[in-house]
Each structure stands twice: as C-alpha cells, then as structure tokens.
C-alpha cells in the first residue's frame, strides 16, 4: 500500500497496462463472439446481454472487435517500439562512440527526419507503400527510431566520461566489453522510460493512420478503423465511436502513467 501511495502513477499505469495485456492475450478465449461474423439483423444494435458493447453496422460484435483490436494495437506498437529502440540505440551509440564526421552525418540525418512534424513521415510512407500491417509497421519505425538515437547518443556521451568507464578503459577492457558491460546497463533506465511513452505514442499513431485508411484495412478489426466506420452513425449508434475511442484513450493513458511512474522511479522528470 505504501509503495502505491508513494508512486500512484506507476501503480495505476501498471494496472491499466496489465488489464490491456490480459485482454489482448486471453481475449479470444474469454470473448466467444467472432469479430468478423456478419449478422445484418443486429445492425447497429445497442448494448445487450449477448453483446455487451452492442453491434456495428454489419451486426458484428463490438466487444469481440475491441478485444481483437487490442491484440493488433498492443502487438504492433510493442514490435514497432522494440525495433525502433534497437535501431535508434545502435545508431545513437555508434554516432557517440565514433564521433567526428560519422557523428555529424548521423545527427544531420536525424535532424532531417525530425523536420517532418508528428506522424507526417509515417503518413507519407504509408501512402506510398500502400495500406497493410507490415507497411504500417515499417512507416512507424521510420518515424520512431530518431528519438532513441538522440537520447542514446546524449547518454553515451555523458556516461563515457564517468570514472568507472575510464577505470575499465584504463584497466584494458576491450571496446565490446566497455559497451555491453558498462555503457548499455547505464542506458536501460532512460531508454525504458522513453520506450514506455513510445508504446502509447505508437498506439495513437497506429489508430490515427488506420482512421485515415492508411493502416489496418477492414475487415481486420483495429480501433482506428472502427472509429472511422462509426463516424457515420454518431447520432443513432454512438457506442460505435465511444468503445474504440475509450479503448485507445485508456491504453495511451495507461502507458503515459506508467512512463511517468518509471521516470519518477528512476529519478528523472
């Protein structure tokens, strides 16, 4: 209880993320309805005992689609963040350790990618690659790696001047040992914080791209394309926008709180 009172963000965020993960993993077993089964007799039906979140225009069970959407959203964003993190860390650490011209060139490239505001680069790439999940993941990674590259470069530049690293270097440790034994563990905290916020960010970006028709294509249930489809029925069936909207908002909230909590835990704001 004391730990929760000291860091309520960590506790609440962790709880939301745990529920989300549980829904994504066990959803298909606990929600029996088929997310793709069309039943026009139930078109736009409101919430009922058989269908707790109602049905969409084609009579498909909204709860089942939300749960399958959680799988897609959480799976895709975790994958994208892990890949962006790996690429960004490798690039950032290389730039910091190589220094000079390599560093300069890499950071200019990062600047150019960062000159594309928000999710614009992902929109442009997804537009040319065409819709689909793999293309969507590529587009999101192309946008996401720069943040990690910048963070890791900065951290490595400071860490490398620390006494314990100098000591290991003076004792004759090889570069690989220096990197894996002394530098990478020091990066874990800040990178974990950024990656936690990153998952929330990618959940939002994926939803936005699917909403714009550049991500998961119907009939694949994704929160973004469910929201888009629901917009035609704002008055008669508001549950079609509310359910995916709250799912997206609550997931992002969970990862934001968890990120805040982790930042507090690692002593940074």
């Amino acid at each position: 209880m004391k730990a929760i009172a000291r860091n309520p963000s960590l506790a609440l965020g962790g709880l939301i993320v745990a529920i989300l993960a549980l829904a994504a993993i066990t959803g298909p077993m606990s929600v029996r309805a088929d997310p793709l089964a069309i039943d026009l007799a139930r078109s736009l039906a409101g919430p009922s005992r058989a269908h707790p979140l109602g049905c969409d225009a084609l009579g498909r069970d909204v709860l089942a689609r939300i749960v399958w959407g959680a799988r897609l959203s959480l799976g895709l964003s975790t994958g994208v963040v892990l890949l962006s993190m790996a690429v960004g860390t490798a690039v950032g650490a290389t730039a910091a350790l190589a220094g000079g011209r390599v560093d300069n060139l890499v950071m200019r490239a990062v600047d150019v990618v960062l000159a594309f505001p928000g999710i614009l680069l992902a929109i442009a790439l997804a537009a040319i690659l065409g819709p689909g999940l793999i293309d969507l993941a590529i587009a999101l990674c192309a946008m996401g790696w720069t943040g990690y590259a910048r963070l890791v470069r900065g951290e490595v530049l400071t860490l490398r001047e620390r006494e314990y690293v100098h000591a290991a270097d003076a004792l004759g440790a090889r570069p690989a040992r220096l990197i894996f034994r002394h530098l990478l563990p020091g990066l874990a905290g800040p990178v974990a914080v950024q990656a936690t916020f990153g998952v929330g960010g990618i959940i939002g970006a994926e939803a936005a791209l699917s909403f714009l028709g550049l991500g998961a294509l119907p009939p694949t249930p994704s929160w973004g394309n469910m929201l888009d489809a629901g917009r035609a029925f704002l008055l008669v069936a508001p549950h079609l926008t509310t359910a995916p909207g709250i799912a997206i908002g609550a997931s992002i909230l969970g990862f934001n709180l968890l990120g805040d909590g982790l930042a507090q835990r690692f002593g940074r704001q």
Binding site: V112, F116, G118, L120, F211
Partner: protein, 306 residues
C-alpha cells in the same frame, strides 16, 4: 540580434533541402510503381508510358531530382493529376484554412493551459494541483480521432449548439479548435507547473519575497517571465504535433485545409499533390521552429550569444 537572425536563416537552407530530398526519395525510391497504382494493373502499356512521360518519370532519377529542386526554388511543384491544376496553387488556396485551425488550436491550448499550470504550480500537492494534473494526463491521452466525434455527438447532435462540419464563421471553428488544442493545453500546463515550481525556489524569488512582495506579486512580476522560457521551447517542439493534429482534425470536421487535400490526394493516388502537401507541412514546421528559436532569443538574451 540581426546577426543571430541571419545565422538562423542560413541554417534553414540545408534542413529545407534535406526535407525536400527525403520527400522526393519517399515518393520516387520506395518500391511500387505510382503510375501503375494510378492507372490500375490492367492499363494499356501505351497509357502507362504516356502518363510516365507526362509526369517526367521517364527521365533518369538524378534528372527528375534536378527538375524537382529547380521547380521548388521557383515555387513550382508540378501539376496535380486529379485536379489538373498546379499543385502550388491548390496548396496556396487551402493553406489559410490550415493556418486558421492551427492558430485557433494554439490559442485554445494556451487559454486552457495558463490558468491550469499557474494554479497547479502555485501550490504543488494541493487539491487544485491534483485536479489540474489529473485533467492534464487525461488530456494528453485522449486522441483527436475520439475527442472530435465526442464533441460532435454532445455539442452538435444533442445540444445543437454548434455546426457539425465545414468551415464558416467562428461557430464552425470552436469544436475543431478544442479538439486540436486539448492535448496541447495538457502538455503546456504540465511544463508550466514544473517550470513554476523550479522558479519559485530561485534566489531572485527569495529576494523579491524578502523585500516585502506577496507571493502573488513576486510570481507575477518576477516568476512568470522566467517560467515562460521553457514553455516557449516546448511550443516549438509541439508545433509538429499541432500541424499533424490539424491534419487529422481537418479530416474529422471536413475542414477544407491542406490536411484534407493530402488525404484526398493519397486516396486518388495523385502523387505530385501528395509530394507537394507533405513538403508544405514539413517546410511550415521548419519555419515555425525557426520562429520559436527567434522568439526564444528575444525573451532570453543569453541565447543570442551562444
């Protein structure tokens, strides 16, 4: 200051060139044939060749790049395939609408953030602080694509207070501006609170208090101005989120700006128009960022000397 402005302007050129090059590379180097995508798999080879010639895609890549950069320098972005009009004039027609929306979103963001951030930062840990920061974390998390429809359901469809979609008078602007400005408000409020907490512990605030000013007087006369510098930096960083937020908000509210033009162009596979719109957004962001740097230098003279 003049030298600083000139230096910042000179730094703009390589970034703008980099942005143009990456945009070109995305459209021209990414696998997939835009002409086949435009005309369909079953199009006659002669039609495909004709279209390719019309768009200049039959030239060697480096020549296409040269034509693209030269056109850009002259403000010529080619011709839209779906509208059969110059891309530059299509963008120029819709750009004011996007700017209007972004400015309104920024205004809403600041108008909500300032009272919240100041109240929260004045008494950290108090009830007002908890409430304001609770609002802020929810505000950051709620996506535009849900906030927009939610506001439409409540204020347009049920209360019938405001128009549902489109651009017109001030009443058309209210819901899109709130949709766009809420996340920004939450982010600024958090930063302003943090910044005020730090400023309140500074030496000059202690001096101001010890010469007899009340806490409020000290904050208004000495604290606020200093607390604002990180907020200005943050506004520059958030300009990107504001621009793409505007893009999505335009789609939600059928707002006739560059964002909706871009999404329409993607749907129509109108690649010259896609290229132009992407470039318009990115270059606007680059210019806005420079403007924030200049504003920052005006508020904080130390920046100019670096």
């Amino acid at each position: 200051m003049t030298r600083y402005v000139l230096r910042r302007l000179a730094a703009l050129v390589p970034v703008a060139l980099g942005v143009a090059t990456l945009t070109f590379a995305i459209v021209h180097l990414v696998p997939g044939d835009p002409v086949v995508a435009m005309l369909g798999e079953t199009a006659a080879p002669a039609d495909i060749a004709g279209m390719r010639h019309r768009l200049g895609l039959d030239l060697p890549l480096w020549e296409q790049y040269g034509v693209f950069i030269r056109g850009l320098a002259e403000g010529d972005l080619g011709e839209s395939i779906s509208y059969r009009k110059p891309v530059a004039s299509l963008i120029a027609e819709r750009f004011p609408a996007t700017l209007e929306l972004a400015a309104a979103g920024l205004l809403v963001g600041i108008a909500i953030a300032f009272p919240l951030g100041i109240v929260a930062g004045a008494k950290p840990g108090g009830a007002a602080d908890l409430g304001a920061m609770g609002f802020a974390i929810v505000g950051i998390s709620v996506p535009h694509i849900y906030l927009g429809p939610l506001l439409m359901i409540v204020f347009s469809l049920h209360l019938r207070l405001l128009p549902l979609t489109g651009r017109g008078g001030l009443s058309h602007l209210v819901l899109p501006a709130i949709t766009l400005g809420t996340a920004l408000a939450a982010i600024i409020a958090r930063m302003l609170r943090q910044s005020l907490i730090q400023v309140r512990q500074s030496d000059y605030m202690r001096t101001a208090r010890s010469k007899g000013l009340t806490e409020t007087q000290a904050l208004v006369r000495h604290g606020l101005r200093n607390a604002l510098t990180p907020v200005i930096t943050l506004l520059g960083l958030q300009a990107g989120a504001l621009l793409t937020g505007a893009l999505i908000t335009e789609v939600i509210f059928s707002w006739p700006g560059v964002g909706r033009l871009l999404i329409g162009a993607i749907g129509a596979r109108d690649y010259p128009l896609v290229e132009g719109c992407v470039l318009a957004f990115a270059l606007t962001y680059v210019v806005v960022n420079m403007a924030t740097d200049l504003a920052y230098a005006m508020v904080d003279p130390r920046v100019r000397l670096q």
